[in-house]
Structures are given as C-alpha cells and as structure tokens.
Symmetry: C2
C-alpha cells in the first residue's frame, strides 16, 4: 500500500551546464519527487517508461522505497529531454523534447494506490491530473504542479484541476501567467479564490512562499556557493514537502511550514550536483543539519 503517490514523468535527460554535459541521466518529476520523499516515506509512482529505460535506474528507485506497480512499461523509446543552462544558470534553452511512450499515457492506478491519503500531481498533462483525482478514494491532501506548456495549450483543464486540489505549487512566472496578475500576492489570492487552501510560490534562489487565505509564510533560498544543475529542483521541493507531510500525517499550517523548509532543504541539495546525484548521496542527518541551518538563518 502506498500512502503517498505521484503522477509524473520518468525521463532520460541530457543536461548541459557551464561545467559539463551528461547524456540520459535519470530525470522526470516522479523520479526526483520519489528520491526526495524517500527520506521520509515510500512513494507510489504513476508513470510510463519505454523498454529502453535502464534496469539500474529502476533498481535505484526501488532501493529508495519507490513502488513501481503504477509504472507501465511500454514497447518503444522512453521520454527524453535535452536542455542547456546558460550563464549563471538562471536561464535555460530547451534543445529537444521527445515525448515517445509518454505521449498517450493514460494513468491507471493499481488498487493499492487508490486509498492513498497524499497525492501529488506533477507537471504532466492536466487531464492526467483529473484522471488520478477521479481514481483516488480517500485523499487527505492533494497538490498539483504545472508548467507553461499546459497553461499555454490546456488552460481550461489546468483550471479544472486547480479547483479540485488543496495545494497548488507554481513558480512565480507560472502564477503570474495563469492568473494574469503581476503582483504575486494578488495572483496568489486569485488562486485561492478558485478553491485551494494554499498556494506555494517557488522563486528559485529567492526561496518560496506559502500563501493561505489568512496566512503567509516565506522561506529564503539556501545560500549555496555553487550550483551545479538546477534540473529537478522544483520536483525535489515537492517531494521533500509531501514526504514530510505523509510521514507526519499532520496537515496543520504549522506543519506545512515545516514541510516548506524540508522542501527547500531537498531542493537546495539537489542543485549541488548533476541530475539526482546529490539525492543519492545525502542522508537524513544531512537533511536535519540543513533544516537547523534554516532555523538559524531565519529566526530573530
């Protein structure tokens, strides 16, 4: 039984940074999310992979507690994505996206996933979000993320999904785009007007903000001296956040604040090395130490 489930891509990424280029690194929302969440709980993945997806990547996910019962294996090539980070790595050029087997993915939840209490809908097609929401029977906390692509081409479905979840995760550009409002706070309030109890606005090196109807919590970015690869930071954030919530079973605002910090801890670690390399190396003590640093750097 998986109490935390995620729908999202499992990819083979080719990443170029000012430091190096790596081909077919394991990537995708479901991979980063489950690795980050693994420090707190096991995750049930809902995804699809091609027959060329390496066995050792599958093994890695499994040894880190991922349940792959919801991962369909389809004859054909895996989803692939190539990108290049430029300058200070706050900009990137997407070079190619090969959808491949991910193209007509229709998520079908294994019986053991349906009673999951914690549900994260990664930045895939919003119709997949709606399908997963239709299949879960007992959600205690649902959350979604999306990207510019879906806002551009399926805004009505994005909106439909937003109405049905408890928390929306967006970066500052996406929230402005969806709600057509440059002021972040006003845009956040427009989001809450649609139904969600909270919105998390991610601001990269500037941290993240949790807005509720009557509350606001801001967490700064962790001051890294060296960023090696920003890929997957948002998914690692969500994995740390939802993993902590699933582990504690506590959805009070006070605990959501702690989840914001754990999300920031996992996201910051993730950027310190290529692909998910850093998530493979760290342990719960590293995470707790950085959490404590967040306490020291924010309290007065």
């Amino acid at each position: 039984m998986s109490n935390l489930i995620v729908v999202g891509s499992i990819g083979l990424d080719t990443i170029k940074t000012p430091f190096e280029r790596r081909v077919d690194v394991m990537g995708g929302t479901a991979a980063y999310f489950s690795l980050a969440a693994s420090f707190f709980t096991n995750t049930g993945l809902i995804s699809i992979i091609g027959t060329d997806f390496p066995q050792n990547y599958r093994d890695l996910l499994k040894t880190r507690g991922a349940n792959l019962d919801g991962v369909e294996i389809k004859e054909g090539k895996n989803f692939r994505f190539e990108t290049e980070y430029i300058g200070n790595m706050d900009e990137r050029n997407d070079i190619s996206t090969e959808v491949n087997v991910l193209g007509d993915f229709n998520p079908k939840l294994p019986e053991s996933y349906k009673s999951a209490e914690y549900v994260f809908l990664g930045n895939t097609d919003p119709e997949q979000h709606l399908s997963v929401l239709d299949q879960v029977t007992n959600p205690k906390l649902t959350a979604l993320d999306t990207i510019k692509l879906w806002i551009d081409i399926k805004l009505d479905k994005v909106m439909e999904a937003i109405k049905r979840v408890d928390i929306v995760f967006l970066n500052e550009f996406e929230v402005r785009q969806i709600f057509q409002e440059t002021n972040l706070k006003k845009a956040a309030m427009k989001c809450l007007d649609m139904g969600p109890k909270y919105i998390v606005v991610k601001k990269g090196e500037h941290g993240a903000i949790l807005y509720g109807r009557d509350t606001h919590f801001s967490i700064p970015g962790y001051p890294l001296e060296s960023v090696r690869d920003p890929t997957g930071a948002g998914d690692a954030f969500a994995g740390g956040f939802m993993g902590w919530i699933a582990k504690t079973g506590d959805i009070s605002e006070q605990n959501l604040r702690k989840a914001m910090v754990y999300g920031s801890v996992l996201a910051s670690f993730n950027t310190q090395n290529m692909g998910p390399d850093m998530l493979k190396k760290i342990n719960i003590e590293d995470i707790q130490n950085r959490y404590n640093e967040f306490v020291r750097m924010t309290h007065f």
Copy 2:
C-alpha cells in the same frame, strides 16, 4: 548632539510611475534615511541644499527630529533628479540628474556631530565617505552604501571606504559588480575579506540578507498588494536599520537581525505611497505591528 549621523543628498525628485507624476518631491538619501530613523532616534544630517529648497520641507525634517546643523545652504539651485518607473516598477529610466549645488560638496561636520557613535555614509561620492570617516572621533558602528555610478568611475575610492567601515549595504547587482562574482555568497565573502564585519545585500521584493563571517540571516520581502513608488526604499531600509541600532546601542548580531527587520518594515511602508508620503503618515505602532507580522511570516 547627534549620536546618529548621515551624509547624503537632499533632493527634489520628479517621479513618474504608472499611476501618477509628481514634481519636486522631497527626496535624497539623507531625507529618506532621517525620516525612517526618526521613529527610533534623531539624526544629524550632513548635506547641502540650494536656496530654492522649500522651507516647508526643511520644517518637516526638523519636526521629525532631524538636526540640520550639518546642512549647508548654498546660493544656487538644489540637486534635482527625474526618473520614470516602468511596467511592474522593477525597472526605471533615469531621465535627468541636475547635480547643481551638490556638485562640489565638501562635508564639514559641526562639532556636535563629531562624537557620533553611529555613522551612515549614503550613496554619495566615496571621497565624501572618506572625509566623514576622517572627521568622526568615536564611531561605534559605521556603514556605507554606494551606487553603480561610483563603482563605474571611482572604484578605488569605493574600495578604500569599504575597507574602513563595519557594514556595507549594497543591492545584489552592486555587490556582483564590485566583487566581479555572480554568486552572491562568494561576492559577500569577498567583501568581508576586505575588512567589514557584515554586508547587507538588498534584493528588493525578495528581501535582504545579512552576511557575517560565520553567520547568515535572510529576511523575506513584505508581501505588498500594491507598490506605488520604490524611490527611497534602500535609504528607508538603512534609516530603519541604523535608527534601531542607535536607539538600542546594541551592536550584537542578535540585534543586527532585529535591525534588518525594522529596516524591511520601513522600506516596505515607504514603497506604499509616493515619495516619503508614507513615512509621514505611519507611527511607531504601525511599525511594531508590521514587525510582528514579519515574525509570523518567517517563524516555523
């Protein structure tokens, strides 16, 4: 006797925002700084004004506790500055700068200023910074701010002044420019290597960071639904910061963190109306309430 002194411009600003245009608003570092600091202590100003500087502006500064003994009045026109904020007001076009009487200002401290314990060097000519530092006899905490203009044309003097102060206030672009380092933390460490005990990096809506050799404190921006005019926010920040320190006489790191919050409170209020209008309206209770909001929005 003035225990807190500031050297900086007193200007007549013409400001255009997407909302309105106002001519000859009182502005300049020394004006914003002393108004912001006035909630905590009186400030001795070191500046120069022209004979056309309105009497009612001088009266306003005085009623707010400013000591103008160090403000020279010179035959001629006052320093004037015209700027236009565009779009979301995170960009501005400077339309004109008339230096006028500020051109050959040579700060000469009244006797009553020389024993000041708290000294703020606004973003004027770094040679004025060095001159003020030469004249004070008993400083407990000195701080400076600068701008791109001086970094472009007098970097050696900027560096000389940085070496001689305890705290450097810079925005994120200035710190990257001076220390030729895009990574903020590395740039901050390069600054500390030169002598200062702390550097405050201001990031506008994203808040501010206090870096010490072994410490780091991050304060988020206050989430405003409406920004009317960003002019003077940095000076109001410095005024709130230094005013709090001068009032308490405590330069411990714990108290510098509180000063960061008071600086953020004053800066955020200042952007909510044109010119220094908001600083004229608020009272200490408003300030304390917003300080408490900062506690609520950052603690976990």
